[in-house]
Symmetry: C2
Subunit: 297 residues, 2 copies
């Protein structure tokens, strides 16, 4: 495979950044991989696992001679990291990210880059598990999954091409979307389910007999709350960054709960059956998850 980068900088060598690097290495699509991060320990794990060749703690040193940068840090840190790297990057280097929220992030990055905003193209690889860190990275995590690119009017076409090639080299199915549409859609199908999972666990944990109740938690609760085991820092960042869309999605959900509450309280069997049957129909039409999807308990 043709190389997508001679020297790739992965800023944030966690589950996604690490899995991307592993996939690119396996595909022979990258020369040297430099890892930049806050946690020395995590970077050592990454180097020991062959995810990165070299550890850097300083953004200016990390940026030297790099031709492609992936910023795979929590969404709140993406623009600050880009700002720190930009002055030391070679002029031909392009930048992408892996954030689950795009509007505020992409706008902040473009502000940080100013006249060189054309070298950045936002990306959202739709993959992950509730685990995190370089230790959880896997070379097949991204394979077959979708990656949404969100170029703007500021993005250079050449940047989009190179960033597309990068994620494709990791086996992803790449498509593009507008910032607003991306954030509205993922508020519904990703951020809201996470919020609901955190709220479900919280509701049970607050109950009087929480410990005994949890001992009887079976498939419905376990599956429904699996993602509540995800990183609280990462999800705090996401929920706050996509605040408006998340609150709108939560509003829809609350009305949906409200409707069910009313039907149950009134003993309205016909209405309840109709709501449940419709939900089942929608859910059954979802096909099986792609091969790369992980499940843990």
């Amino acid at each position: 495979m043709k190389r997508v980068a001679e020297r790739l900088l992965v800023a944030g060598v966690g589950l996604i950044g690490g899995s991307l690097a592993l996939a690119l290495r396996r595909a022979g699509a990258v020369g040297e991989v430099v890892g930049l991060g806050r946690s020395e320990q995590n970077l050592r794990v990454a180097r020991a696992r062959g995810i990165i060749d070299r550890i850097e703690r300083d953004p200016c040193r990390a940026a030297r001679g790099v031709d492609l940068v992936v910023v795979a840090v929590p969404v709140g840190a993406i623009a600050p990291v880009v700002r720190a790297l930009a002055p030391a990057l070679p002029p031909e280097a392009v930048i992408t990210d892996a954030g689950s929220v795009k509007g505020p992030v992409v706008r902040a990055v473009e502000r940080a880059l100013g006249t060189t905003a054309g070298r950045f193209c936002g990306a959202h690889p739709i993959a992950g598990t509730e685990d995190s860190g370089a230790a959880a990275a896997a070379d097949d995590l991204l394979r077959g999954e979708r990656c949404v690119l969100t170029p703007t009017r500021a993005t250079r076409p050449a940047t989009v091409r190179r960033v597309r090639a990068l994620w494709k080299a990791a086996g992803m199915r790449v498509e593009t979307m507008g910032l607003a549409e991306h954030d509205a859609i993922f508020a519904l199908v990703s951020h809201l389910p996470h919020l609901a999972a955190f709220a479900l666990v919280g509701a049970v944990a607050d109950a009087g007999r929480a410990r005994r109740a949890l001992a009887f938690a079976a498939g419905g609760f376990r599956d429904g709350t699996r993602v509540a085991a995800s990183s609280p820092e990462m999800w705090t960042d996401i929920l706050l960054a996509n605040r408006a869309q998340v609150l709108a999605a939560l509003g829809r959900f609350e009305r949906s709960c409200e409707g069910l509450r009313g039907a149950i309280a009134r003993g309205d069997r016909r209405r309840l059956l109709a709501v449940l049957a419709r939900a089942r129909g929608v859910r059954r039409r979802l096909t099986r998850p792609p091969a790369g999807a992980r499940r843990r308990s």
Copy 2:
């Protein structure tokens, strides 16, 4: 293995009733198995799969010469089925059920049986998938899972012993619980997660770009809503039968969502992080699901 029944009547040969019969057969714990049900087609599937030996459509004929009855029908139908069977059952026959709600069901069954209420012991096998019917039954579905018995002051000790032996013979870990405690616990860890899953799917289906959004639904949404593919009839019954406890659990959940909404709206990072971190801690302490747990997309 010693037989737990010479002639077992399974009223409702669905996922649970069928899986129980298969497990008992495999263990050599049962003589003849008679299947009673409304759907001729489902009963034919059950006979073809070797789940039952004989099909009966009439309760009085089905009850003849039976020494153990399992009523594995939706919770709203359990007491009516017991009422129809009781007059034709031999005096030594004991009855159990497989309902997910116990208080209202057990009380209705005991009223239906009157002076012979001592022959009934309620049971709730904690197992299942979102599939239903004899076609979905499996001889290992119940193995290793918990089964809660809910004997009352009316239940004869001999009944409890025989019903315990029945579920144990299918490989289940049997324990007992009071009616009120059972219904409060399962409202939290089972009925509420199902309700939330139905509401989540409903919220997304109601959104403007539902079809496009669902195309991007990944692990969080898929796992979180898996149980929304469950039988609407069965779940309408459960939610209405356990109405008071379900509404109480839903109230807890709504307050939990409310708390998250407030923290997000205020941009209260510290609070949000604390709520998410607590939920993650609780969720991580849940161990892996038992071997028999099924997952489908």
